[in-house]
Symmetry: D3
Subunit: 193 residues, 6 copies
């Protein structure tokens, strides 16, 4: 199966900065997630995409844990029916949260996921941004405070939801295929050598 309905460049043909980044990811993950190659068809967009991704997911400020950010991505991607992002970020969510069941729960019905009230409030806000952002009011942001989520956290939730809404649409349009490896990651405890 092709990983995209668009041409996918070979690693060796990519500009230096892109190749370097991709090799770093490969070193860390053990494989190259297909999104890095599928979107590389458009280098300028790829660079902006990665910069946006890093600005939201690598930032050290705010109260959202890395697992919580992935949880928002999985909920958003499920709402948008994006196979690539549910599978890939579901894997990362399982690993970060150390909860092998949580990704499937959030993807099928976040209201039934075994998560604390804070994360439920977080996902409720994210889903409103995802599906009817024009109805967001100040009260929606204020309601998050009861769960220790500040207005800055609200921005983070909204921005992650909005950015992955972009990502979901590109993955859906390009028919981006998740790497087989993601499906199983984080489901079984790592065996020690």
């Amino acid at each position: 199966m092709a990983i995209s309905r668009y041409p996918v460049p070979e690693l060796k043909d990519l500009p230096e900065d892109m190749r370097t980044r991709i090799l770093e990811v490969q070193d860390k993950a053990g494989f190259v997630p297909n999104v890095f190659l599928a979107l590389a068809h458009r280098p300028a967009e790829w660079r902006a995409f990665m910069a946006y991704h890093d600005a939201l997911l690598l930032k050290e400020t705010g109260s959202l844990s890395k697992g919580e950010r992935e949880m928002i991505i999985v909920a958003t991607s499920a709402a948008n029916h994006c196979l690539y992002c549910v599978v890939a970020h579901g894997a990362i969510l399982r690993i970060y949260e150390k909860k092998p069941l949580v990704a499937d729960q959030v993807a099928v019905n976040w209201r039934k996921a075994e998560i604390p009230p804070r994360q439920r409030a977080m996902l409720e806000f994210a889903m409103k941004v995802c599906e009817r952002s024009h109805e967001i009011e100040q009260v929606d942001i204020d309601a998050l405070a009861a769960h220790g989520l500040s207005a800055e956290d609200a921005w983070d939730i909204a921005a992650i939801t909005a950015f992955f809404g972009l990502s979901n649409r590109m993955a859906n349009v390009t028919a981006m295929r998740p790497n087989d490896e993601f499906y199983l990651m984080g489901r079984v405890p790592k065996t020690k050598s």
Copy 2:
């Protein structure tokens, strides 16, 4: 009226690269579009946003004219009920297309806009990406060819729709206010001096 429900930095407090870009825009437009200041609350995201924006709207390749790209933005932003983007990009659309009525037509009901079949097909594809990207199939992309729109153009349409879906959500969540200037721009012929 505040231009955002989040803190808005002053131009003088921004990093050099951001200030330079903003001043350039001000020179060209005669005022600073509020999106530049509202999103500047988060410099790293601002830079990624502008890089993505430029990658999609300043690129010289592909068959989409600058006016057509703005038309996609207006249709997407209307579907997402984003006041800032409908008003700001509606202004730019009027100017690029030299059609003072087209932005309101596209915003209210693109099916009734006075545009050629090519632009209608373009908007039909954009709206499917906007509202149900998970149903996009190869046939949707192939159907564009009859209107001189290649698969690369389809990517452009999808990417613009997806990126402004992000932009719409951020504008809605931050309650971003369009500059008053945009409402009137492109509606009246410039008087010669």
Copy 3:
């Protein structure tokens, strides 16, 4: 561009009462709004339409200002994606309210319009009548009282919404074209002579 996909009678061929009314409007507005000619294809319906229109918009009782009535029309017509009514009544709204930006705000997202709480409550009720009138309960009407809107005002809001729902559907089905003049009306302050 034709102003309707149906035959449009010439002014001279219309019955006396219709011609008189149309000439009065022309005197006042400086042009004949297309709805008067497009609907004149059916004189009996035209007369009933105008009588209903006048009963709702010219009445002197109730607390709704003329600007507020136009605001309801614009919100309803935007929800029904009716190009003619958004453009034509948007113009009248701008003039009555003396607010050049308000029509676009209400049309794109009334929740973000710069209007007082009373008008927001009014539009919230109107939108419920427009989109799911079968869910209207006594509490919806009672809630308006907090904003100085009586049960009679609720009837007015509902009737205006319902009548323009009719108007929107006829304009959509006939592909009624707004006069070019409407797009710009009320956007620029009248220059004194």
Copy 4:
């Protein structure tokens, strides 16, 4: 049970023209349909409503039979969940079409009603006008020709749908109660004396 949540005038207090019309209806039907009294709370609107009603339902031109017009009303009113209109016009539909089962069939699921293809096409067009009139195109009107329905008939279908959309909203907002008599009318063959 009250027949409206608004004040209902007594027949004797109504202006002469309204009382005359109502007495005529009473003579013919054997009772006064509640809509005549409930809407009489607003005489000017009542007169316009009745004029519109008569223009659409009493006209002698066009190919729509009286039963077909009632069928459109029942389908529209069911889509709008209007109890008054489904029950009252369901009764009239049964009588005009001499089909005691057809009203319930059309109200629950017009696609399963035992009606000829012409009436199915008619209802399909009506439902598009009712629910998404902004998507109506010339092809929708042209498609009716195969069933002997002209563009003028399309106007009739659209106007009846649009007018009863108005009526449905007013009945829903006023909580208009159907007369008990309507529920049974046309269900049993009249016994000869």
Copy 5:
């Protein structure tokens, strides 16, 4: 008109247990409701269907009256646009509740039906189960207690709604036709001999 688009077995060809049950119903009702014959095309499914039906509708425990159970069925079937079930169970509802108008009211708009608050709460819960069961929370069940409806009653409401959701889909897919007799049952008081 056929009573199903699938083959319908003759009574004489059915297994003994099925024939016995059907003859019992015929004795009681005076005719064989078409569902018994249409579903008999698949004996094993027929038996399971009837067992489920009886477990929910013949049970003696719980606070739901037989009329209330039929009311849930009518509301559910109307939401699913199932002609067979609205007509057949509408008849039974009228008879059990001894209210000749209630079935049409519940089918068109349960919010406007002349029923006590308990039955309204019951239908509100049923409709949430019918249309968005994934959003059901403990609070929805707890809210029923104010109307004398226990958690066990909530199970009953949910199970009836869910089972007739199944029934509605089968009737819709097989184009199951309601017996003519149902349309009139319970509408007129039985005349004493």
Copy 6:
């Protein structure tokens, strides 16, 4: 975590027939799927549920493979956001089809699943039954023939979709929790001893 918000009987307290069936399942699966215990709160309904389940899933006639039946269940359950059924039947689907990725693909977006056209047509029909069965026409059934799916297969698809719609609603209302074991089943090849 409780496996249901309703009381769950102990195996030893169940009637003989139920206990026997449950022990058989336990023998085969290695654990008792929670649905057997959660629904056992109502023995009569349990028996009907299992009889229906067996009639649809154990039948030897028709062209649907066991894997295909599970695929319909997963797609239906995902559309209904039923955590229990997506997780439990996703496991069985993976095992029957020997495709460790297919369940996640079908659950997130069946249109992107790596399945042959026959199974795509099967799921398209199932989703129409699930979401708008009242629009099913003979042509929908006829269209399946091109993929070797007969009218009897169409009944099977519809019945499985309808039955699991029931199951989904009960699982959602009872907050039925999937056994942890299901999440991993069929994802890794069995190691030979």
